[in-house]
């Protein structure tokens, strides 16, 4: 944002006291190819999935696979916190999941291609132990096995 100074005091305090994990550093894989030769997948925390797939529940640390050729009309959001406005996503799912923009970059030759799958997690997670130990590394392995060079991580 939400720049914090544009929020109510309650919302600001909620964010400032949110138990964000504190890390000293991060692993860093240098990209050695031009974007035009890269395969990219979206990994989102917007709680999106295919219509008919298992819904997310609050605190759910599992993930859903969204095949990259899924039409945007078949994508639904079961993360429905009233802390954010759902109208932008109703109008245009690219606001959190920019799949059409990526297809346009590929058509223009600026990006290589999409991986076969995108991955989706639930947002607003306070407890992430299972994501750290199990579901996160699993998505990492799947992306690697699918030959993905770049994961674009998007929130809601």
């Amino acid at each position: 944002m939400p720049r914090l100074d544009r929020l109510s005091q309650i919302a600001r305090n909620n964010l400032l006291t949110f138990p964000a994990q504190v890390n000293e550093t991060a692993p860093f894989v240098r990209l050695t190819k031009p974007l035009a030769a890269c395969r990219l997948a979206i990994v989102t925390t917007a709680g999106l999935h295919r219509r008919g797939d298992r819904l997310f529940t609050p605190g759910d640390q599992s993930y859903r696979v969204i095949p990259s050729d899924t039409p945007t009309i078949d994508i639904i959001q079961s993360h429905t916190s009233i802390g954010f406005d759902r109208v932008p996503t109703m109008r245009d799912v690219n606001i959190s999941f920019p799949i059409d923009r990526l297809r346009e970059l590929i058509a223009r030759g600026e990006l290589g291609e999409l991986g076969p799958s995108c991955y989706s997690f639930m947002g607003a997670q306070r407890e992430v132990a299972r994501i750290e130990s199990e579901t996160g590394p699993e998505v990492g392995r799947r992306l690697r096995d699918e030959g993905v060079d770049i994961a674009l991580i998007t929130p809601t």
């Binding site: 939400p2 964000a20 009233i82 923009r101 990492g140 770049i150 674009l152």
Partner: protein, 228 residues
Amino acid sequence: MLEQAGVSTTSISLVREHTEKVKPPRALFVPFPFGMAFGRPDDAELQHRVLRAALDLLAETTGPVLRDLPAELDPGDQPGAPPQASGITPATQIPDDVAMETTQMRRYHERWLEKSGGRTHFGLAGIPATRFRGAVRFLEGFAEGQDVDMPERPADVPLPNFIRYCADDLKALYFEGHLVMKPAAGGEEIARWFWGETGAGRLLRRVRDRLDASTDPRWKAAAFGVAR
């Protein structure tokens, strides 16, 4: 975790203060509200500029990198967050018959579906729009303190979660219907209309009240998601 598997990552950050703690390998801080990570809906040009700025971080040779979106891309006029029900005073004249009101909204929602090519947030509870009056009756019974349930509720979905899905579907039906009535309306205007002028908004306040009065934390959590 993804980098440990050998995949380079770049990300969008909505809360700079959190990203400073988490230190992901590459993050682009954007000054947009929650729900608007790529700037504005239906604004492909702005979305492309945000996307490009995030992809540009991949050219860095060391990290972690946390960069701000260039200031000129910040429209600067976006609300921090949508207004909540508690901050909106209901009008004195609100329709009593929510099932009838829902039927009327469904006509607008059908036009939304035609316009959007079938894209909709409606459908979490698994009850078709044509039978959603039944869900409204269910929510009304619940709000009145009755011991109600619906045959459509899957066995593995607890009652408060199912109530929340019904409430989310009711909101989606109205919000998307309103986008047909007033295509230019923003989320704030729609929230003020829903919570201030519709019978559905008043019903959801009452559903929230019963959930919130429970001592069961799962009910209280559902209340928090229905209306605040």
